[in-house]
């Protein structure tokens, strides 16, 4: 019985630490999602709803006539129009020993991005990586598109 209790406590501890680690790594949140919006995370797809947490390496995809708006912990905001794909490749904000950085890769579609504290902390800390071009955000609101007209 005592062994069982110890195991139970150990499992609880592990669960807590997983949850804690996950909570610590949350980098942002979905605020607005309309139409067909999914988050690809570790090989699985999650329906992106308002309030859904975002993590580094998440890939966000929108379908036809769909759009999504996100905020990040540095107060930056990113939104995607229809038929878009954005990967949150690197995100570091106020992490000990790590310079602030935010790299998001826009493979297709349309995006707007309003810079937050990461962009203000050092030049070109926030970047939108496009297939042929690197867009460095110095501190402003920008829009970019890859692959043409909104559908």
């Amino acid at each position: 019985m005592q062994k069982l209790l110890v195991n139970f406590v150990a499992v609880l501890g592990i669960l807590f630490s997983i949850q804690h680690a996950a909570a610590a790594d949350q980098i942002g949140q979905i605020k607005v999602a309309s139409g067909d919006v999914v988050i690809e995370r570790n090989g699985t797809e999650i329906e992106a709803k308002s309030g859904e947490a975002l993590f580094e390496k998440d890939v966000i995809r929108t379908g036809e006539n769909s759009a999504v708006g996100m905020t990040f912990t540095d107060n930056s905001r990113v939104s995607l129009g229809p038929d878009s794909k954005l990967s949150l490749e690197t995100y570091a904000y106020s992490r000990p020993g790590k310079p602030n950085s935010f790299d998001a890769r826009l493979d297709r579609g349309s995006l707007t991005a309003a810079s937050g504290k990461i962009a203000k902390s050092r030049p070109l800390a926030m970047r939108v990586l496009m297939p042929t071009t690197v867009l460095g955000v110095k501190g402003t609101v920008v829009a970019a598109r890859v692959g043409g007209q909104e559908g």
Partner: protein, 354 residues
């Protein structure tokens, strides 16, 4: 081209030889009978307008006028000269409306189609910005086509003008549309001033630092003139989904106190209202203290302040779903006023609603 075979014949048959010109230059109606109306070189020598569109019109119409006059077509020469003069003086003549010209039945359909497309580009601010020169050239070729079609007897000339127009319009279709790959700076918002963007591609860099400054990227890498309405259309979906900017509220506290004053409560109500207006609102409450007393006590009091404010906002939002709260206590860290004395400004709670 050769409306009148010879000047003598033309002068003898003035009335029947040419359709009356409707072009005007200011208040002056050009009289194509006067020597001045055929005097093209002074028009060619007027400094080109800065607008590439007007410059293309001036150049193109001068060329057409000279060709007509070389063939002793005095009325057409005068007509194109007056168009060149108008462009040189800054007024763009409109392309000929085929329905108002005496055009044979078999030629009219193609001209109407071209007229509709050309006037569409002339009315599009964005197309004029990106392809003004080419649209000017297309208009000259088009007017040449109308002129020749109206005369109707020189097939080679009609074909040459039409083909030149068609080649130009293909180029314009490509230039006038916004490129598939592009980036643009949007207007600043409060607290997020325009710092600009830097685009780097293949060792080249473009810096954009004003609202609606844009650049094509990839194959079209380079500065790109755009209009605000084009950008609002092109990014309509993403713009509509853009979350509201985060908003901060600040409350101050009495010395060594955690009681929420009436004034501070107003800020709590405002923060709650702000959270209510947002989807999936986050309310992040951070407490601070002034630098009087020991750091541990300051940290504790800043935590109590933050917690009280969180509870008050939580209560105001008790019927609102999908709100997340976070509290943080900074104690004596990050003072807004650099003083070790009592400071109301430093005794504060900041509420960030996101």
């Amino acid at each position: 081209m050769k409306r009148c075979a010879a000047s003598f014949l033309c002068l003898g048959l003035l009335a029947g030889c040419a359709s009356p010109s409707t072009d005007t230059v200011g208040d002056q109606v050009p009289d194509w009978l006067s020597g001045e109306a055929w005097n093209v070189p002074p028009v060619a020598e007027i400094d080109m307008p800065e607008s590439p569109f007007l410059a293309a019109l001036q150049e193109g119409y001068v060329d057409l006028a000279e060709r007509e006059l070389a063939e002793f077509d005095w009325s057409s020469g005068a007509r194109f000269r007056s168009r060149a003069l108008a462009a040189a003086q800054g007024t763009a003549p409109l392309p000929f409306d085929p329905s108002e010209q005496d055009i044979p039945e078999r030629a009219i359909a193609g001209l109407i189609e071209a007229y509709v497309e050309l006037t569409g580009y002339l009315g599009s601010e964005g197309a004029m910005l990106r392809a003004g020169r080419q649209i000017g050239e297309a208009q000259v070729h088009y007017d040449c086509w109308v002129q020749e079609a109206e005369e109707g007897h020189q097939t080679e000339d009609i074909d040459a003008c039409r083909e030149a127009y068609q080649l130009m319009i293909i180029l314009i279709r490509d230039l006038a549309a916004l490129p598939d790959n592009m980036a643009v700076v949007l207007p600043e918002e409060p607290g997020n001033e325009v710092g600009g963007i830097e685009l780097a591609q293949g060792g080249k860099t473009i810096t954009l630092d004003s609202a609606f400054a844009a650049a094509g990227v990839g194959e079209d890498f380079g500065d790109l003139p755009v209009t605000e309405s084009e950008i609002r259309d092109a990014f309509a979906g993403a713009l509509a989904a853009q979350p509201k900017p985060p908003k901060e509220f600040q409350l101050n506290f009495p010395f060594n106190g955690t009681r929420i004053s009436d004034e501070a409560f107003e800020a709590i109500l405002a923060a709650a209202e702000e959270a209510r207006s947002r989807e999936a609102a986050e309310v992040i409450v951070t407490g601070y203290a002034d630098l009087v007393g020991n750091a541990a006590d300051s940290l504790a009091i800043s935590r109590t302040r933050a917690e009280r404010v969180r509870q008050a906002i939580f209560w105001e939002l008790r019927d609102k779903e999908n709100v997340t709260f976070a509290t943080d206590a900074k104690g004596e860290r990050d003072p807004v006023e650099d003083t070790a004395r009592k400071s109301e400004a430093n005794r504060r709670v900041v509420v960030l609603v996101r």
